[in-house]
Symmetry: D3
Subunit: 155 residues, 6 copies
């Protein structure tokens, strides 16, 4: 377990908001950039959904999750980087499961696995994507194979 992977206990966060913006005139080309910028500025999650808007326009609904205190920073980015003039939001509750991180040995070295717990029982075990990816690239093996090796090594 490394410093960048601290464990955390199950908790319910009452301080979160979901923001939504409908976009029918922002080129898709900008939206990959906007997503990265929102993450880099502290959004907890950012994602897009395809929607059907008026006048036969294919559009995108940008959705993001952030804490209340990030609201105005997110608003600034959305207004400056997309074409929207209206932003809607509402509070929601987020339950986050207890999690920790373990190391699993493979023939290419150790790989971090994130575990999630529910009522003290491990219900989820997921190899860290970026580490698996790096191994796949370094050793020229399929990413799928790296995941399979980790799954086999888990008890």
């Amino acid at each position: 377990m490394t410093d960048k992977h601290p464990p955390s206990y199950a908790h319910t966060d009452e301080d979160m908001v979901k923001m939504e913006v409908n976009l029918d005139d922002t080129p898709g080309e900008w939206l990959g950039y906007v997503m990265e910028l929102l993450f880099a500025s502290g959004a907890n999650d950012v994602f897009y959904a395809p929607i059907y808007m008026k006048k036969n326009r294919p559009g995108i609904m940008l959705q993001l999750l952030c804490s209340q205190e990030k609201l105005s920073e997110m608003k600034k980015i959305l207004l400056e980087e997309t074409t929207t003039l209206g932003i809607r939001y509402y509070p929601l509750t987020v339950y986050r499961a207890e999690r920790d991180f373990i190391k699993v040995g493979t023939k290419w070295g150790e790989i971090t696995v994130k575990r999630g717990f529910y009522e003290g029982k491990a219900v989820q075990q997921a190899p860290e994507y970026e580490e698996c990816r790096q191994i796949a690239e370094t050793y020229h093996v399929p990413l799928k194979q790296v995941y399979e090796e980790v799954w086999k090594a888990l008890d």
Copy 2:
């Protein structure tokens, strides 16, 4: 009208929650099963929407509606059966129209029709899918034709 089809009056339900989970590493193969399980455990509705997640990942947003009292049961299933470690939810109001059920005669026998009312007027009439389907299979007729027969028989 049968026992499994009780009528109900228009009402506004203030006791509902919507739960949402973003999934970028749950295989689609599991999600058909998860949907059935959530319905069988008392969810009022469950549905999926395609979303665009970080790192160019096609993902799925699972959404479900349930009563407040079902919240922890739903949470347990989501944590055990999907790969998520975070679940968000917020309360919402549900208006449910008055409804009753009538029987309509067709050449293949009676078929139940669900009717919906708004301010005392029938605004919606829908043949029960499972009954129509059974007739289509038993009599080797197109499902579309079964619906058409019912529509014609309604006044």
Copy 3:
């Protein structure tokens, strides 16, 4: 049956092409207009599908069907009105069912119904949308109710 609704016999058209264009930097606002323009210029069908493109970009795949002889006219519109520099296409076969048009009487007047035939049997009956819509607007009744009246009047 009116002149603008000529019947036609079942046939297989070997002269059609499907054209496809991926768009990641055309604003959705333009695409409603482009669709109308393509239809007005002789496309048999035009439709959009949401796609996930490189660099985390939500994009749109424009698809259109037209006869071989319309190919260069469609190409011109696509290049002038969208942002694409590449257009792909391939031939396909289109089967078109035999169809005719009948009039059905309702309390608001006659409505045209398009019928489709397969091996001499009517397999499809659809009220004409624009006529139903006009009645819904003129008589201030739900569009759904107009369709229901037509369905009941069909034998």
Copy 4:
């Protein structure tokens, strides 16, 4: 700046609701009409998202934004024009940026541009679609070219 384009100051609207309806048996053909009707009756926004519903059904989630006082009018339309018997909704906050409208000269005449402001700075400038479209149709030029002319004329 015309009367139909009044400027408005940045404000946060706490009086809005989002309504949602899942549709698995409303033909798509009706939904274009329903969208127009909801806009004409005072909805602030209406849009559709593709969803995966139970029993392998492709469905549509209709979403609309309106003020609290429009709630029952919207409910009436949804019940009369779609096939739903259940409507859910929840309050949300809408931030609307300060906006004004300016005229920009082009070789085809003046075109209105909507500007959006954030903290006193113009962050968004968008030619009015309907005016651009009318010019494109009148002068037989690509819509894209009309937008480009406006962009060049802006400082």
Copy 5:
């Protein structure tokens, strides 16, 4: 390996067609049924994609793969069970990887695993969904856990 799981060698099938139908007035409710019917009648694959059609209509593109000899049977079902009057299709080539089936022991009994090969090397190993599902239901364990047990048992 059982009789219902015969192995097969890699081959390229030149005898396949893809059929496509755009649907804007078939209720979603019918489409789950239609998919099953097409599979039961010999389609190799059937799937739906959300599309944006004219007049602001959310639609569905039904796509199916079948052998040339199944073409007219599929056409019949599409015309009788959906609302389409036009069906398009084109030939395509299908490469199918070599595959076999092995049994893997778990604490709940043996589970079949489908393996896929590329140039003699196993590149894919997938537990059979229906068997895993049956175990999950019988033993009241998460489906995810059944898959994980199989993955661990594979070498």
Copy 6:
């Protein structure tokens, strides 16, 4: 104009294939990686579309364009990195418009603009995304503003 931006003349490429794979058990997490790998290995385009597959499974249709000679290399990656055992493909024609690259001066330095031509007339002018992005990051300005500066500088 730089060496990495060679101009090219309009041409019709008859040597292309489209490959398609339906995925219902590949985690979305892998698919961002697979897309990059396919591009790096010579695919001309790669994109994903959300589809509805059997047994209520949300799936992804991977589509890629490549030249005939790349077919077996792409096949290898698809089999090794995704979970598919079947790959379909068909030839198509690609029209590529004439294009060149010019430099446009802005206050942050020169930016490359890709121009597309149709019958000798420039129909498309697009700032290069990666250059705009780098300026946005270096000078801490909105990406949108960089594009706007380029549009204004174009004649």
